[in-house]
Structures are given as C-alpha cells and as structure tokens.
Amino acid sequence: MRSSTKKRRDPMALFAVLQTTFLLALLPLRTYQSEVLSEPLPLTPESLNVSINSTKQCLHLQWTVHNPDYHQEFKMVFQIQISRFKASNVIWLENYSTTVKRNQVLHWSWESELPLECAIHFVRMRTMVDDARIPAPRLWSNWSSWEKADAQNSLGDHPLYVFPKDKLVEEGSNVTVCYISRNHQDNISCYLEDVLIYGRQLDQNVWAFEFKNVSFIRKTGTNFYCKGQGDPEGVVLLVSKVLEEPRDFSCETQDLKTLTCTWDPGNDTGLIQLPSYTLFESFSGKKTLCKHRNRCDWQVTQDSQEMYNFTLVAENYFRKRSVSILFNLIHGVHPMAPYSLFPKSVSATNATVTWKVYSIGSSSALLCQLQLLGEGKVIQQHNISVRVNGEYLLSELKPDTEYMARVRCAYADHFWKWSELISQNFTTAEAAPSEAPDVWRDVTFVSGHPTVTLFWKPLSKVHANGKILFYNVVVENLDEPSSLKVLSVPAPANSTKVTLNQSSYQIYVTAHNSVGPSPASAVAISGHPGNENVEEGRMNGTEDGFPMSWKPQSRNATGYVVEWCDSPQHLPCVLRWKNLGPTNTDTVISSGAFRPGVRYNFRIYEISTKRMAHLLEKKAGYLKELAPSYNPKVNMSNLTSHSFTLSWKDYPTESQTGFIQGYYVYLKSKTGEKCHRGFEKTFLTDNSVCCKYTIDNPDQKTFVVKDLQPESAYEFLVTPYTSAGEGPLDDFRKVTTPDEYSHILIHIILPMVFFVFVIMIICYLKSQWLKDKCYPDIPDPYKSSVLSLIKFKENPHITIMNVNDCVPDAIEVVNKPEGSKMQFVGTRKSPTETKGTKPAYLDLLPTEKNYSGPGPCICFENFTYNQAASDLGYCGHFPVTPQAPHCQLGPLTSPENLLKTLEQNYMNSLGEIPAGEANLNYVSQLASPMSGDRESPPTNPPEPALCSEYKMQMAIPLGLASPARSENSSLSSTALLDPREHCH
C-alpha cells in the first residue's frame, strides 16, 4: 500500500513545491480517502500455529494478521480447513468471523471426535475482510500453508495405545475410541465391558470404535480395553448422568441473620466429581459457592435488605442449570424449635407447662402453639404469644393419667411455617377411686354353711384414678350388728372367699389407692340356700352374643345380674356377670371369649332392695351350634344270629358342640340286603349305600338291631346329630352274626365232652380194678366170669380150650435185651424195670426197601396173650447160650418140638414162676421164610434164643437182620431164621 502511493507522487515532481501547500491541505482528506475508499487488499494469516490439547481432544490454532495500514479494528472472516491423515482429506471447513485489531493474536479451537492421537491432522486458513467500511468486492486471501498436528510423535515405543485417555462424556452422547498398534502382525482384540467388539480401520495401524448413546454403568467408569500379545491397554470412559435442574428451591431464615436456601438436586450424576452449586443474589450482586449439593447458607447483611433475588446455578463439565426465586426475608421466617419445655405444679387435674424460645430480632414475638395429647390424640390446643418465656396452665386433666405436652412456634408478624415440635410427657397425680367396684358373689353351701366367693372387676383407669393397692372387704352380720369382719385383699387379686354361718350378711367391698378408698359396693348374703330348682331354658346365640329376656318376679327389684362362665369347658370357671338396671328385662350377653360349639350356661338373678340375689332363670345356649365332633363309644351286646344290642350310655350330651337332638344308627350289610323296618336307605359320602335309623330322643342311648341274617357281616355306626349336622361317619364297626344252630351244638357237645372226660378219669382211677375184672394178666379160664356166663348159654358143651388141643403153625421168638436176665432160671425183673423197655425187635425190623432176602417172614401176634407179657416185660424165655449158633433154633420150627418146648416151658413156668408173672406168646406163622423142610426133625434140642416174645406179625425180609452177638443184644426171630447167615 505504501509503494502504490509513491508511484502517484513521482510524475508530479516538478510541481512538488507548488503543490506542497495544496497537498498538505489535502492530506487529511487524502488520508481519509485512503482509509475508506482505497481498494482493499487480501490479508494473509501469519504465524499459524497448531497445537493439540489431549485432555480436551482439541486442536488449538493461533495466528496473527499483520496489517500496518489499518490502525482501527475491523471485521474479518477466517476460513479454516482441517484434513486428517493427508492434506487432501479435508474433514472440516469452517468460517470464523471476528473483529481483528492490529497485531492481534487470534485463537480458534476445534474439538475432534476422533482422538487426535490416532491421526495426523493438517490445518490451513485464509482470510477475507468483512467490514462494511471496506467496499466490495471482498476477496479471500491465499491459503496459508498446511500446518501439521501430529500427536503420535510424543508417543513412546509401546506396541499398543488406546485413546482417548480418561474421556469424560455425558450419558447419551457418542464417543469414538481408537487404538494404534505398532506391531502389524499383532492380533488385537478389543472389549467394551467384557464384550468383544469390532471397529473400523482408519489407517494401516489405526482402528476406531464408535459408541453411540453411551449409558452410565458405574461411577468408576466404563472400561474399554484392547489386548494383543502383551498387557492390555485400555481407557476408562467416565460417563456422567445428565445434570438435572434443582427442584424445590426455597429460602428461609430462623433468626433474620442467616438465610438458608435448600433444593432438591435430583439424581446424582454418578461421577466422583460432583457438580458445583453457586448462589447468586442479583440485588446485592453477591454470590457464594455452596458447600453442600442441596443446601446453601447466605449471610443477611446489616443494611436491612428485605428483598432478595436468588439464582442457584448448578454446573458440571457438560451443563449449567439455574433456578431463581424472589424472596422476602420477613415472609420466610422459620423459627427454631422452642426449648426447655417442662411441666410444673402438676396436680391430679391441673398442670402448668413452661418453655423458652429463641428471640427473633429485638421486638418480634412468636406465636406458640401448645398441644396436650392423651393416648396419642390431641385433646387440648392453645395458642400463646411468647417473646422469650412461655407458660400455660392446663386444666381439666384426669388423675393419674399420662399426657404429652407439645409446643411449636411461628413468626408472629408473618406466619409462614411452624417450627419443629418439642414435647414432654407428664403424669397427673392420683385421686381416690371415683366409683365402687363391680362385685358379684358365688355362694356354695358346705354342711349347711354358706361359703361366699366374692368377685370384683378391676376398676377402669378412668375410675381408679391411680394404682389400686388393695381391696377392703367388710362382712357385716345383719343378725349381730356389732359383728364386723374386715378383710384386706392386696391388688391385683379380684376375688376372695368368705365362710359364713347361717345368718344374713351384708358385704361391702371398697378399692383403695394411695389417696383413699372408693365408694363401697354392697352384696347381701342369706344364710340359707335359695331356690335352685329352676328349669333350664335353651336359647340360640347370634353374632352379637346371647340375647335373653326374663320375667321379673317382684316389683321391688333393684336390678338384675346375669352370670356365666367364659370358658365352661375349662375348669375352674371364669365367672362373669353383667349388672342390669331394674327396668331391664332383657339383654344381650356378649364376650370376646365366646366360641362356637361351646355350651354356655347363664343364670339370671334378681336383686332385691336388700341387695339379696334370687335365682330367676337358667338358660343354656350355643353361640353357634356345631356338628358333633366325635361319636359315642358304642358297646355291642346280646349278639345273636338275628340281632344285637347297641348302647352308649356314657356319652355326655351336655358337653357337646350343640344340643344333641338324637342319634343316627347306620347299618351296612355286606350282602346289600334291603333295609329293615324302621331303617331308611341313605348314601354316604363315599357313595356307598347304607341303612339309617333315626333316634329322635337324645336320652335314648340303647338300640337293638333286629331282623339280621345269621352268619352275615354287618357294619354299624352310631352318631349323634345337632341342628348343625351329624357326627363323623368314619368309624364303622364290624359285626358278624353267628350261625343259627351253633348254640345248640355248643349246648350238646360241651356236656358230652365233659362226660367223656369224666368217664376217662374214672377209668383211669379204676383201671386196676377193671383190669382185674376184665382182662387179668393170666386169665384163669375156669375162673372166668365169662365162662359162667357161657354156661348159662345154650351151648353147654363149650369147654375151655386146652393148649394141647391147639397146634400152632409156627412160633416166633422175639428177643429182648434183658433176655439173659429173664431166663427161667435167672432172676426176675420187676414190672417197673421193664415198663419202659421196648422189644428190641422193633428197632431191628428192616424196612421193606432194604429187603433182599429170599422171602418174607410173616408173623401174627396174638394180643390176647401177648399184651400182658409185654406189659409186664416178660416173655417166653429160654436160657440162651451166647456162643450157641442160632441155627440151633432150627428144631423150633418143628411143631412137635415146639409143642414140647411150649409144654415144658409152660410147666416150668408154672413151677418156677408165680402165677401171673409167667407169660407165653403165641404167634401164628403162615409162612416160614426158612429153607429146609419144616417137617424135618431138629438136629439139636431146642435152645431158647435171646429174650424172645411173640409180637405182631410183619413182613420182614430175611438177611437184613443182623443183630450183634452180644449178651445183651436181642435178636428177632426173623434174624435167627435167616438161613444165609445162620444155616450155612
């Protein structure tokens, strides 16, 4: 600009002197023209400097505009271009208008969404004068050169970087995170709160992740981290919740010296860094930084400022919120709570309370409200104007009652708000009980003497007027007026027992507390029992209780009393009573103790003028009848084939859950026969068919079930029923009717068995006699009574059989163990010794299975002769030589030899053995297993075997019997006759 002025002066050199004056005159105008009218030149920005603020992720531009010709400030526009990664990649273009002064250093900042560390940025700008004083056209200057902003230069050689570090963002905003990996081979995985995420590659080694609408997770921030081969790298996104506008902003003062403004700050922003709260007052222009997030104190100045215009500003990194109020100091007085509230001079009905208040100003008064509470309810309320000390007399109080006095105060000049309450409890003094105790009595006569149990109800708190300490009972004998008996019963007893004689008495009961006695309650007792024979009536209870009415007996009744037991099922009875006036002839007795299904008995007394009670009526009832809870225990008797009897006489009807109206007898038959007469068919809950008989008389407790079938099974059940229903149908008992003739059999068989048993006993006792009579050991044919009988028969030729006349076929000799001892020449054995000895042959007899002999040996035993021998242990014994071979018995098989032997034996027996002790067994043998000719004579004289006897004939295989050849051994004859062992 300076060079263009010189060009215009040079052609005018000759006229320089002449024109000097003219030019000097024109100079001011010229100067003005050059400033206003000269053509503007574009101004290029100079000293453009670009810096990076990593904390705020901002590019900071700083430059100057050098214009020596313009001394005044004027408007300019700066067009700024920002490129990323390379200059040609322009990502931002912005015109920045400002007023520029000469040599002014200009600043401009740009916040990058992408962390600046992750990309190289280039910046350039150009300018244009945009001032109205500069005529158009307005031209842009040339672009400045590109300035490079590279934050990566400052990074170290760590293989992995994640940016931005510790980014503070507001909830709901968008955030871009990037990482730079120096190792291209490294496989980088990135996580946002443990969730693997994938980003967008911006450059060869730069990846970006864009998170939109980020949300608050925790105060300590949201973790984003990437991991390659080495340690993880990450950033913490500190997400702040949106700062809310303070609510309920208000101010008040307690003492007109300090203002306290409070507000609700709303939800916490969730960051450790809390928002700041500042209180501005526009009239005074003062402000204060609040120490709390919901309260701020403001000192009232001494210049009597009454009006305040407060503005509360809440501010955090992202937002600024403000609320304002216009506040009149006088209208916002909230006094402090009064203090030192005390009751004084407390009597039974009055109390004076005092308290103090904090003064407000020098002349202001407070309006205090005194409340009196009893049992949690406000019963009195008084307003008192107080400057410093408050006092008030509370009256109409009840004795021995706890009260609470409460006081609160407000600014009297302009009521706005009550102060906090303070309270104090106190209890009024006691007074004598104001009412006589309610007394009733229970009279029982023992040996003609009345024993009176007095009951009284505790006085209500209203009437007790203090703690009842004891009760005085004064017994006055009306027949002996001078006789007084005083009893003191300590509280809380509510009864006492007094034994009287047969006089009439008046009993007075008073309750005493620490102040004095109550009025007396009087009860009169007659020395004789009254009329107790009053018929009991029934009644039904309702939800309200038991309504009842009665008929007065006398016109001079002073009242009536209804008494009952609250829990009659539990002993002892808790006696209750209700006093009624003389005009009452009905009432409803209600009690919280009444329960459904319980029978309550009421007695109504009439009170005479002499306080004597006469029983008027008895009533029983249920609040609500229930079905019987259990069935009677039924006793079954008289069971016959056609009937049985049921009885349940022990079932108490009075203690049931309802009035028992009767009983149902259920009968179930297995055969499903038809119901008998009087029964009706019914269905049980399990749909089974049953016959039911109804007994409608509750006093009938027996029932005969008739017309049953013999030998039939039945089930029966007896259950009572009330108006509410019947008892449980779950305990049927079974019964089976007996056979029709069984009793007859019993009547016959039992005597017969008894008779046989008697006969057996007799036979046993007379066995010896019978034996001697009927079957002696050796019967003497000639002495036999049978013979005498026969002789009278028609066959007179019958004689006694002679032994010689009988030729036996064979004889079997049975060995006995004691054979050696039973020889004819040997000693005799007593019957007792031989009684238990069995014939040895029985043990030696082989079974047929083991038989291997040539043929059976069949023997027949003649019991007529054998029995006695067996019994006595004797048998036909022959002397036995142990060494003698058994084959020597062979001749015995010859009939002649046998006869001889027998004869000899018999004769010897007669000669050597006493009669009756010898025996002889005859055995008939049909077939002999022995080989050889039976007719052949014996080669040797017969020698007796070992103890032998004739026993039952049996088929015995030969060859199996091999008795031991000992002296004591006994061999059966079959063994002796074995030809293989003994004959060969």
């Binding site: 510790d166 443990d194 925790r218 300590t220 973790n223 340690d231 993880p232 990450g234 950033v235 500190l238």
Partner: protein, 235 residues
Amino acid sequence: MRAQRMQRTLLSLVLRLLLLCTVATGKCSGKYHELLLQLQRQADLMQDPSTLLDPYIRLQGLHSPVLQEHCRERPGDFPSEDALWRLSRQDFLQTLNTTLGLILRMLSALQQDLPEPTNAEMNVRGFGNNIHCMAQLLSGSSDPKAAEPTQPGPGPTPLPPTPPSSTFQRKLRNCGFLRGYHRFMRTAGQVLRGWGERQGRSRRHSPCRALKRGARRTRPFPEVRRLAPRGQPPR
C-alpha cells in the same frame, strides 16, 4: 453370604477393639502366645480377598477373565514368600512393619475407589501395633522407643508404586497391589503360625532366649524409610 460378611465384620470389630484397647492403655501384652495368636488371627483376617480385592474388582469392573489375568502382583511390591521364611524373627517383624506403612499409604489413596468405608486401614494399624508389641516382647524391653528398627528388611522397595498415567492402568495396578497385599498377609500368617509350631517343638525361640540374643527394635509405621536394596540376602 450376608452372614459371612456379618461374621467378618464382627470378627474385625472384636479384633479392633482388642487392638484399640492395647493402644489406648499404651501397654503391650506380655504374653507371647496370646500376642502371637492375635497376630495370626489378624493376618488371617487381612489375607481374605473378600475384604478388599473382591470389592475393588467388583466396583471397578475388572471381573472379566482377560483383566483378571492381568490383575496380578508385581514383583517387588511385597517381599516374597521365600524371603519372609528366611528372615529371623526380628527382621521379619521389621519387614512386616515397613511393608505395613506402604500398605497404609496405598489404602489411603484407594479409599475413594472402594465401595464403602472399609476397616482395612484400621486393621493394618492394629496389626502394626501388635507387631510393635511383639518386637518389644522379643527384645525384652518395655520401652516403646526401644523397638526402633535398626536392620533393613529384605528385597522389596517399600516405596509406593508409581501411579500409572491412565485410569485404566491405575485400576489394574491397584488390583495387582491388593492381590499382592492379600498374598503377603497370607504368607505372614503362615510364618507366624510357623513360630507357634516351632515354639511348641522347641523353646529355642522363647522370648527369654530372644532377649539374650539381643533384639532388633521395631516401632509401628516408622517414617518412610528404605529397606535394604533388592537382592540383599536375607538374614
């Protein structure tokens, strides 16, 4: 879980009351076994990760397996287990005392990063008081000043770890520190239990013998004082 926490709290309260009693009266218990048992119990209480590490991990969101893998004690933060076992009793107590000072400063810095006011700091202080008493008992002196440490401890540098530049790295660093803290207290408890067992087997380490040997002196939480440089062979 809640019951366990309550149980721990109660135990901690009892321990602290015992400790406060000791501190308040200004007297140390002269009963060696009682003091040793108390130290063992305190070490057991403080080694429990649920008292500090677990809440920290939960609060900072470091529960992912990737981060858990890198939440590990750094070498040099705390004396190694081998080193602790090789120390004499006096040196062990001194090392413990010095390390507790470091722990206290770290815990103080961590307070705002923990979910709720923990008793960890009080526990550490109480533990330090008992260490002081034990040192006194072993030295046979009732003068608290007589417990001045004179011998450096082994290995670790008791300076607090340099705080990392970024919040994320600081989280991991603190996590590793807390893990090391619990590990250190566990090892300390084992060593203390070893004292009890050895005491049962042999009376070689009785307080009387320790008195004869001469004692090294320990004061709870001395001024930050550098122990022996790393690599110094433990005594």
